[in-house]
C-alpha cells in the first residue's frame, strides 16, 4: 500500500463543511466542495492547523498506534524531549523513560541527549559555514516543506545536518541489532511525537533516502498508560543522559540555548514563521547567523498531539533546564569527531518544490492574473468563505483556473435573484 501523502486525514462522514479548517489553512490548501472539506495535496505542508481546530473531530492523524508495537521483535522508544514536559512538576525525565520501558519498549533512548549532540554539531557547522545567512533550522518538518514550497530561494539557507531523531534512530537500531543478535529490520524504532508532522517526515523524508524511524506514536496516545506505569516503577536504572541543553529543544529557542553565537533568532507559530521568512527573503535578516523556526506556537510543546497546555509545559521545561543545568553533558571532542566523520551528513539533497504558477506560459499567467483582479473587483470582498474558498481573492483565482464558478459567490447570486424577481 502506498504510504499516505500527509500526516492528517479528513473523515468525510464526520465533516459538516463548516470551513473552519479552510479559513485556518496558511497555504490555502483546503476548499469546501459539495459540503465537504477537500485538501489539495500539492499545497498541504502538514502544519496541522486544521487538525487543531476542527470542531467535529473530522480530521485524524495518520500516526502509528501503540498496538503496532507487537509488529516488532524488539521496540525502541525515542521520545521527543516534549514528553518530559507533560507530567506533574515532581515527575522527572528518568522516571518517564522508565515508564516507557514498563509499557513495552525493550530499549528506551533519551533523544534529548542526541539533541544536545546536534547542538554541538550545529555550533561547529555555523562556525565553519560560508553562508548564505541566516542558516535556518531544519528540525521542524513543516518548516522544511513550507520553505521548499513558498520560499524556494531559501532552501539553500537550511541547515544541512541530520536531525536528532533520525541520527539517533540509526544509532540505536544498530546497537540493538548487535546486542540482541537480530536483523535490524526486526527492530522497530518509534518516535514518541508531539505532532503529526513527524509522521510525514518518516513516510516521505526530505534530505534522506529513507527514514531511520519505523513510526511515530502520539504522546496523547500513550499518556494514560504512562501515568499508570509511573505509579509503581520497579526498575531503577539511569536512562536520562541529557542536560538542560537537550531538554530545552522542546521549546522555542531551545536549539539556540546551547550555541555560542549571539546573532540567533527563534520564531514559532505558523504566521510568525511566514512573516520572518518574508523578512529573510527581502534581505532584512542577513546579520542573523542562525534562525530557529518552529511551526507550532512556542515550539514543539505546542504540538497538537500533546496533552499538557503549552504554557504549563514551558514552565516545566524551564524548571528541568534549571535542574539539569545549561552545561552540555556531551563531550565536545566526540561531537567534533562525529561531525568531521560525517555522522550528521544528510543523505539526500533538499530540493525546492515551488507551487506551479497560474500558467506554465508566463504571458498566459499574466493574462490570468489580470483576469483574477477583474473578477476580484466584482466580488463583495467580505471573505465569508460560503463559496467554498477561504476568501474572495482565492475564489477569483479558482475561477480563473477553472476550478470554481463565480456563481459560487452567495452575495452575487442573491443579487442576481433579486434582480430577476
Amino acid at each position: 500500500m502506498e504510504k499516505p501523502r500527509h500526516s492528517i486525514r479528513f473523515v468525510e462522514e464526520k465533516c459538516v463543511g463548516c470551513g473552519t479548517c479552510m479559513r485556518a489553512c496558511p497555504t490555502k490548501a483546503i476548499r469546501v466542495v459539495h459540503g465537504k472539506a477537500r485538501v489539495n495535496d500539492e499545497r498541504c505542508i502538514d502544519c496541522g492547523e486544521c487538525f487543531r481546530l476542527c470542531p467535529h473531530d473530522a480530521i485524524v492523524s495518520e500516526t502509528t498506534s501503540y498496538a503496532d508495537l507487537e509488529k516488532f521483535e524488539c521496540a525502541i522508544a525515542l521520545p521527543s524531549p516534549v514528553l518530559y514536559s507533560q507530567f506533574a512538576p515532581d515527575v522527572l525525565p528518568n522516571q518517564i523513560l522508565l515508564a516507557l520501558k514498563k509499557i513495552g519498549f525493550e530499549y528506551v533512548a533519551d533523544e534529548a541527549w542526541d539533541c544536545e549532540l546536534t547542538t554541538n554539531a550545529l555550533q561547529e557547522y555555523l562556525d565553519t559555514s560560508e553562508g548564505p545567512f541566516p542558516k535556518i533550522s531544519n528540525t521542524c518538518p513543516v518548516v522544511v516543506r513550507l520553505i521548499a514550497m513558498l520560499y524556494p530561494n531559501l532552501v539553500k539557507n537550511l541547515v544541512k545536518l541530520e536531525i536528532p531523531r533520525e541520527s539517533a534512530a540509526k544509532k540505536f537500531r544498530q546497537k540493538a541489532s548487535k546486542s540482541r543478535e537480530i536483523p535490524p529490520e526486526k527492530i522497530g524504532v518509534l518516535h514518541i511525537t508531539p505532532c503529526p508532522a513527524k509522521m510525514i517526515s518518516i513516510n516521505h523524508p526530505v534530505g534522506l533516502e529513507k527514514s531511520n524511524l519505523d513510526g511515530a506514536i502520539p504522546i496523547s496516545d500513550i499518556y494514560g498508560r504512562l501515568l499508570e506505569a509511573l505509579k509503581n516503577l520497579e526498575e531503577d536504572i539511569v536512562l536520562q543522559l541529557s542536560s538542560g541543553i537537550g531538554i530545552a529543544w522542546a521549546i522555542s529557542s531551545g536549539e539556540i540555548m546551547g550555541i555560542r553565537q549571539e546573532n540567533c533568532l527563534a520564531v514559532s507559530g505558523v504566521h510568525d514563521v511566514i512573516r520572518v521568512l518574508n523578512d529573510v527573503e527581502a534581505g532584512r535578516l542577513n546579520d542573523i547567523v542562525f534562525l530557529e523556526c518552529l511551526i507550532c506556537p512556542d515550539g514543539c510543546i505546542g504540538g497538537s498531539l500533546t496533552v499538557q497546555n503549552r504554557h504549563q509545559a514551558r514552565r516545566k521545561v524551564r524548571r528541568l533546564v534549571k535542574m539539569f543545568g545549561e552545561h552540555t553533558r556531551v563531550s565536545r571532542e566526540m561531537a567534533l569527531r562525529l561531525y568531521r566523520g560525517g555522522y550528521f551528513n544528510l543523505q539526500a539533497e533538499i530540493l525546492p518544490n515551488p507551487l506551479p504558477p497560474l500558467d506554465s506560459d508566463p504571458g498566459k499567467a499574466i493574462q490570468k492574473l489580470k483576469q483574477r483582479d477583474k473578477i476580484l473587483m466584482t466580488l463583495p470582498g467580505k471573505n465569508c468563505s460560503a463559496c467554498g474558498a477561504p476568501d474572495c481573492r482565492t475564489l477569483a483565482e479558482d475561477v480563473v483556473l477553472g476550478q470554481a464558478s463565480i456563481d459560487d459567490c452567495v452575495f452575487l447570486t442573491l443579487e442576481k435573484l433579486k434582480r430577476t424577481a
Binding site: 513558498l150 524556494p152 530561494n153 518574508n278 523578512d279 527573503e281 527581502a282 534581505g283 532584512r284 525546492p352 515551488p354 507551487l355 506551479p356 504558477p357 497560474l358 500558467d359 506554465s360 508566463p362 504571458g363 499567467a365 499574466i366 493574462q367 492574473l369 489580470k370 483582479d373
Partner: protein, 142 residues
C-alpha cells in the same frame, strides 16, 4: 509595452507606517511567483523593492509603488512626496545614510538602501527634487 500584455498594480505607501511596511514588496513577490518568474529574479526584486519601500516609509510623507510586468521585463517605480535627495551620487554610496538614531535603533539606516537597489536590479534610475520628492525607477530583465 503593449498594455494588454502588461500586468499593472499600484500600491500606496504611507510614511512612518511601520506596521504595514514591507507589505507592498511582499505582494509583488507573490505576484511574480504566480507568473512563474525565475527564483533568482524574484530574490532580487524582493530585496530591491523592499529597500525602496522602506525608504518611503522612513523618509517620506507618502508615496506610490507602481509595478508593471510583461513577459520581458519587470518595471517598478517608486515615487514619493518627501524631503528629496540633495546629492544622489553620495546617496548611492554604500554606508552613506541620513537615518536618525531612532531609525538606526530599529535596524534601518545602514546606508545600503540605494546601493542595494542598484546592485540587485538590471537598471536603476534615481531622480529627486529637494523639498518635493524622489522617484526611483528600477527594472529587471526576464
Amino acid at each position: 509595452m503593449a498594455a494588454d500584455n502588461t500586468f499593472i498594480q499600484e500600491y500606496s505607501i504611507k510614511g512612518w507606517d511601520f506596521t504595514r511596511a514591507g507589505e507592498a514588496s511582499c505582494e509583488i513577490k507573490n505576484i511574480l511567483k504566480q507568473i512563474g518568474v525565475s527564483q533568482d529574479v524574484i530574490r532580487r526584486v524582493a530585496i530591491a523593492s523592499y529597500e525602496a519601500e522602506m525608504n518611503v516609509v522612513m523618509y517620506a510623507r507618502q508615496g506610490t509603488m507602481r509595478c508593471e510586468i510583461d513577459t520581458t521585463k519587470i518595471k517598478i517605480t517608486i515615487e514619493d512626496e518627501g524631503p528629496g535627495i540633495a546629492d544622489i551620487d553620495q546617496a548611492m554610496q554604500e554606508g552613506f545614510s541620513t537615518a536618525t538614531p531612532e531609525m538606526r535603533e530599529m535596524g534601518f539606516g545602514a546606508g545600503m538602501g540605494l546601493p542595494n537597489i542598484k546592485r540587485n536590479s538590471d537598471g536603476c534610475e534615481v531622480t529627486s527634487v529637494v523639498g518635493k520628492g524622489t522617484k526611483v525607477a528600477m527594472s529587471f530583465n526576464l
